[in-house]
């Protein structure tokens, strides 16, 4: 085979066409012209070709190639890939390079069809995957926002409710009133459980987000919403020593209705107030004001805090997951939600510093023209002042503990501090991770109460550092209680891994807090972490349960215990007698009677045993009665021991009562 043919065969095999540059835009083919080259440009063997005129791409590349040839630079210059259409409309991917060969200016054009399809498929798949991933991330983020908003939304009133109930239970209440307060408190707990259950069941597939962004045509009273928010937040502000005032509005004839959904409007006020409280120093005042003109109404939340950071832009302030620098919120969703919602209602939102100090957050909504308000601003005529935080918890812990409470949420921190101090503990507070560590070093506490999410250093990291230090110093482990707004199994695992002893969900119930903290009175090795269930209401210790039951009324508690201990022998004897006589009806009646008494003391095993005994009696099936009776007796022995340990005097009262 002639030499030329081998070269041609090789070039054809490689999909390469060679041209010698002749100046201008003319090129002369070198060797045999490949078919694809003829099909695209009409090139013919041996015939010079105005290639730069036939290809818009090569026209541009020629400038670069000429420069390369002109300077006789070593190597080659490459064009990058491009696509041309052949005579049948097929797209042919090509790549060109300019080289010097044997003193000739040569343009090499390579047909990439063979590798291109594979590369195209690879890139297509990769980019499709990237787009799908981005889309998925957006969907997840939407759901995350919704989930956070729900937690944020529903937990907020619960925190205030808890604070109110706890403050009330600290007072010397009439037993009848305490019963109502306890009912309210129990209901708030029930609501919290339900929220968690609902979130647990539906968090993976929340269907409601589509409704989140929809506008509303509802008409809502702006002043009434402001007042609800002020009333709701008054206890939280009181606990922080901050006065909360709803400024009176002189024009009572004015229509105060705006285009907004009432629930979300309440939440906007709530978020702005929560934000103001976070930054307000003790002794300062936060004022809520509502004003308006013919077209729109404006609500303002004015604080006397440090003001906005100089470099804080509107975008940053209201951005998703935006957090303040010094005392940030929990998830950076509050202000984002406000902006998102206000804008969807056709309004606007903003914030600025005041000349006299502090900041002013405002939002403006279009006035509703449809409905005039019968009592505009009527309820706003009297400023609502926050109640003083003079509550004291009368019941003291058995031993005063040194406790560090570290949480960047001022409301939660203040509430915990108030309750723990009233309980007789010595408390140091810290607003972030580094401050918590400083407090740990300075006070050598018995207990560290650490929020999982804090600025600077989160609670998990603080716990790890503490455990390291203890190990290095050979010191006894400090009890570390984690705090989390979303105490999931994953949170529990992370807290355990970080060295925490127990994780307490927020908002917490007073007795759960005491129980979690006061385990430090017992010997609980750090290596055996407790689960969330350790502080769950159903397993509260007896004292906490009784406190709960009686609203903290010691007298009532003693009376209950004494009465129970006095009556128990007789009730138990009645069952024993029925068992011994194998009298099914008597057994059912006696078990029923005892169950009512022991249910008060949260003795779950004993309650279950009496229920079973009653059922056995009613159904005349007595085969398993001895075994059930033993279970009942055992648990009652424990209950009696616990009650006597708690109230030795109640025990002696019972004896006297039993004797009389």
């Amino acid at each position: 085979m002639p030499q030329q043919s081998i070269s041609d065969a090789f070039l054809a095999h490689e999909g390469i066409a060679l041209f010698e540059y002749r100046g201008g835009s003319a090129f002369r083919p070198v060797g045999k012209i490949p078919d694809w080259c003829s099909s695209i440009w009409g090139a013919r063997n041996g015939k010079s070709l105005e290639l730069a005129e036939k290809s818009l791409f090569l026209e541009t590349f020629l400038g670069e190639a000429e420069e390369f040839w002109k300077f006789k630079a070593p190597g080659k210059v490459e064009s990058g890939s491009w696509t041309e259409q052949d005579s049948e409309g097929r797209e042919i991917p090509l790549e060109a390079s300019a080289v010097w060969l044997k003193g000739k200016r040569v343009l090499q054009v390579r047909n990439l069809s063979e590798t291109f399809a594979q590369q195209q498929q690879l890139f297509q798949t990769a980019r499709d995957s990237l787009l799908a991933h981005e889309q998925l991330m957006r969907e997840i983020q939407k759901k995350e926002i919704l989930l956070h908003c729900i937690i944020h939304d529903l937990s907020q009133p619960l925190t205030s409710m808890r604070a109110c109930f706890d403050l009330l239970l600290g007072k010397d209440l009439d037993p009848a009133v305490a019963k109502f307060v306890n009912t309210g408190r129990a209901e708030s707990q029930r609501q919290e459980r339900m929220i968690r259950e609902v979130l647990g069941a539906f968090s993976a597939d929340l269907a409601g987000e589509k409704n989140l962004g929809q506008g509303v045509s509802a008409s809502t009273n702006l002043i009434a919403s402001a007042q609800r928010a002020v009333e709701q937040f008054a206890p939280a502000f009181a606990a922080r020593g901050v006065q909360l005032v709803l400024a009176p509005n002189a024009d009572s004839e004015f229509g105060w209705r705006v285009i907004a959904d009432a629930t979300r409007l309440d939440r906007i006020f709530g978020n702005l107030l929560e934000n103001a409280l976070r930054y307000s120093p003790r002794g300062s005042t936060v004022t809520v004001r509502v004003e308006g003109d013919r077209k729109a109404l404006t609500a303002l939340v004015i604080d006397q805090g440090p003001g906005l950071a100089k470099d804080a832009t509107h975008d940053q302030l209201f951005a998703l997951f935006s957090k303040g620098k010094d005392r940030p919120g929990k998830a950076g969703l509050g202000l984002y939600f406000c902006k998102m919602t206000v804008e969807r209602w056709g309004g606007e939102i903003g914030a600025e510093n005041r000349a006299e100090g502090g900041s002013r957050f405002w939002f403006r909504l279009p006035r509703s023209q449809q409905v005039s308000d019968a009592q505009p601003g009527g309820s706003a005529a009297n400023p609502v002042k926050a109640q003083s935080s003079s509550n004291t918890e009368s019941r003291q812990a058995e031993k005063s503990l040194r406790i560090v409470v570290a949480d960047d949420d001022a409301t939660i921190r203040e509430l915990a501090i108030e309750l723990l101090r009233a309980r007789g503990h010595s408390v140091t507070d810290a607003a972030d991770g580094p401050a918590a560590l400083t407090a740990f070093d300075r006070t050598g506490p018995d207990v560290m109460l650490l929020d999982q999410q804090m600025p600077g250093m989160d609670g998990l990291e603080v716990a790890r550092v503490i455990r390291q230090r203890e190990e290095q110093a050979g010191a006894a482990p400090t009890r570390i209680v984690g705090l989390s707004g979303n105490a999931s199994a994953e949170d529990e695992r992370r807290s355990r891994d970080a060295g925490m002893d127990v994780l307490l969900g927020k908002p917490f119930e007073r007795n759960m807090l005491f129980r979690a903290v006061e385990r430090a009175l017992e010997t609980v090795p750090a290596s055996t972490p407790a689960s969330i269930a350790e502080v769950a209401p159903q397993e509260e210790n007896l004292r906490a349960h009784l406190l709960h039951m009686t609203g903290g009324n010691e007298k009532l508690m003693r009376k209950l215990v004494a009465g129970f201990l006095a009556d128990l022998p007789a009730k138990l004897s009645a069952i024993r007698r029925a068992v011994s006589k194998k009298d099914a009806d008597e057994l059912a009646a006696a078990a029923h009677s005892l169950r009512g008494a022991i249910a008060t003391f949260n003795a779950q095993k004993a309650v279950a045993a009496t229920r079973n005994l009653e059922t056995m009696g009613r159904t005349q099936h007595l085969e398993n009665v001895p075994e059930e009776f033993r279970t009942l007796s055992d648990d009652l022995v424990r209950l009696k021991r616990d009650l006597r340990a708690l109230y030795p005097d109640a025990s002696s009262q019972a004896k006297r009562r039993g004797a009389s």
Binding site: S55, L56, F57, T60, F61, G63, E64, S79, G80, S81, W82, T83, E91, P93, E95, F116, Q119, Q120, F123, Q124, A126, R127, D128, L130, L131, E134, R138, H314, D315, A319, E343
Partner: protein
């Protein structure tokens, strides 16, 4: 007749190819076909009575797989910087690309295209940011799908190129 090279720049999947196809062939394909390298097309437009051939360089979107060859931009008179506002990152990428182009090529007429305006409800770029962009740069909202704003964007760039000092 005047001939001006125009480059389509922007991240992948923002709709550069679709805009060119809509402008040149008046067609739109829902399916995303990734571009590798460059596709060159042209269309004659008339601006203020003057006919111009726009040579449209539809350049692949930049990502981890393909970096932009600055050599593709050689001889460019103007460019359309395409953003997909349903993907926030594409604006950041576009502005960063614009900086590189200005560094390499100096100040060249540019129109920022906010594409996919038929999906305005799904835009995730903040309203204020878009307003700021529209104030500071020549910006056009387009939809390759419906054709909205597409011709205007190319004609606006053609005029800017004519008006630009040569």
């Amino acid at each position: 007749m005047l001939q001006k090279k125009v480059c389509m720049l922007g991240s992948f999947a923002v709709g550069k190819t679709s805009l060119v196809r809509r402008f040149v062939e008046s067609i739109f394909d829902e399916k995303y076909h990734t571009t590798i390298g460059v596709k060159v097309d042209k269309k004659i437009v008339e601006v203020e009575g003057e006919k111009i051939t726009l040579v449209l360089w539809d350049i692949h979107g930049e990502d981890v797989f393909q970096k932009l060859h600055m050599t593709y931009l050689r001889g460019m008179f103007g460019y359309l910087l395409v953003v997909d506002p349903t993907r926030r990152q594409t604006l950041d990428d576009a502005l960063s690309l614009q900086e590189r182009v200005q560094r390499e090529m100096g100040s060249i007429p540019c129109i920022v295209i906010l594409n996919k305006c038929d999906l305005a409800a799904e835009w995730e770029i903040d309203h204020d940011r878009i307003s700021a962009l529209e104030t500071s740069q020549t910006t056009t909202r387009t939809s390759a799908k419906t054709g909205e704003g597409v011709d205007e964007a190319f004609l606006s760039l053609a005029k800017a190129m004519l008006d630009a000092p040569s």
